[in-house]
Symmetry: C2
Subunit: 245 residues, 2 copies
């Protein structure tokens, strides 16, 4: 039973499958998450078939968790179900627009996080794949997502076969503002990032990537402007393809 | 100590303030939530000053929770802090784009949900205000959010002064798909929504709004196409104003 304060991201799993009854129970409990107008604007695709996982893997840059986890859960913003319901009930759905995507994405991510918290409390390990929004068109194709369904989070889940150290966090003062937002002074920034920059791991990242600062590892290697601009375009295209723009 | 499966949204609070040490502890624990590249792309504005709450209230359609809760937490997608850090470290940040907003919004919502789960486990009650993305420009102005900071979720929090019934949920089969997405047949839709439509509350909604079906209450009254189209525009404008488009 892992609590939020003790959690770690788990990337290596034992081969044991997750009992279907357990997975269903966790998803049902997670469905207590509040949603807009109690519409539950999400769907989950639980992929266990190795052939489908192999098709999904490239969309996640072949991160080994996709093949290595017994279950890959793709959490999707879903206005398809509600819209179909409306059409069958003499009601005209008006959810093919950007705000509706944001609303459904919000419902979906809150639900996703509660699923993870519940799964970890049951001794499972999870890994959040941020790659879901990098190449959404490939995921849409492989998972056969119809119009008004959009993948926003992927979680690999299984019984942990590792227990890594917890990684660092910013100090609370770095993220908390009182009453209104107080913008950061240069001194604030130095102080907020001092601990992260002091870590041996950070120094190793700088050296390995032949950079001068840790920030440059982020901007020049891991999350570059050109990648972000390119993927902003493909994300917008995918939203258009799925009818949300 | 409320668990996810037992939770209810709480809209009425006792006047008792939340001890600052408790609020800080809950936020610190919630910071264990995984984020993209461990960048923690969020900030929280904790508003307790009644004058600031009164300014926020109209942006939330004057829902009474804003004034009634001891604390209003506005969770913001934040690339301002990281970008300032990059600029101070000879690194060129490339996060003024749509994908970066989606990444920061994801980090923020997962963090928000874990905060709520932890707060509820400590006996606090929470309410998620979906209105945050309806009139973001007003919230940005009142909370003085700088460029690359965007409000994505507001949580009112306090000690519960009510304990309402849990509301209904769709059956699990309504949201779960195996391996790939299986689109809904008309029979599926009937079956998924049958329980919701059978509730006395649903019948009352139809009658009160003088509609023929429950779906029409959603499309014609609560979440209309014209509102959604209008707010999609203001949301896009606000994203542009904050530098994310």
């Amino acid at each position: 039973m892992t609590r939020i304060k003790d959690r770690r991201t788990i990337r290596k799993y034992k081969p044991a499958p997750i009992p279907e009854a357990l997975l269903n129970q966790l998803l049902e409990e997670a469905m207590r998450t509040p949603t807009m107008g109690n519409m539950q604007l999400y769907s989950v695709v639980a992929t266990t078939d190795p052939r489908v996982k192999a098709e999904l893997a490239p969309a996640h840059f072949n991160q080994p968790m996709v093949m290595g986890a017994p279950v890959v859960l793709t959490f999707c913003a879903d206005f398809n179900r509600v819209s179909k319901w409306c059409e069958q009930r003499e009601a005209e759905p008006g959810y093919d627009n950007f705000l509706s995507f944001i609303n459904a994405m919000s419902d979906t991510l809150l639900f996703t996080q509660n699923f993870c918290t519940l799964a970890e409390a049951e001794g499972l390990g999870t890994c959040y794949l941020g790659t879901t929004v990098y190449m959404p068109k490939d995921i849409i194709r492989v998972l056969q997502l119809p119009r008004l369904v959009f993948p926003v989070a992927t979680i690999t889940v299984g019984y942990p076969d590792e227990w890594p150290e917890q990684n660092d966090r910013l100090p609370l003062k770095g993220i908390l503002h009182h009453d209104v937002y107080t913008d950061y002074t240069p001194e604030d920034i130095d102080s907020i990032y001092a601990y992260k920059e002091s870590l041996d791991e950070s120094k190793r990242f700088i050296e390995e990537n032949n950079k001068k600062t840790l920030a440059q590892v982020f901007t020049d290697v891991r999350y570059t402007k050109s990648d972000n601009i390119f993927m902003s375009g493909t994300m917008m295209e995918a939203l258009r393809m799925q009818g949300f723009i």
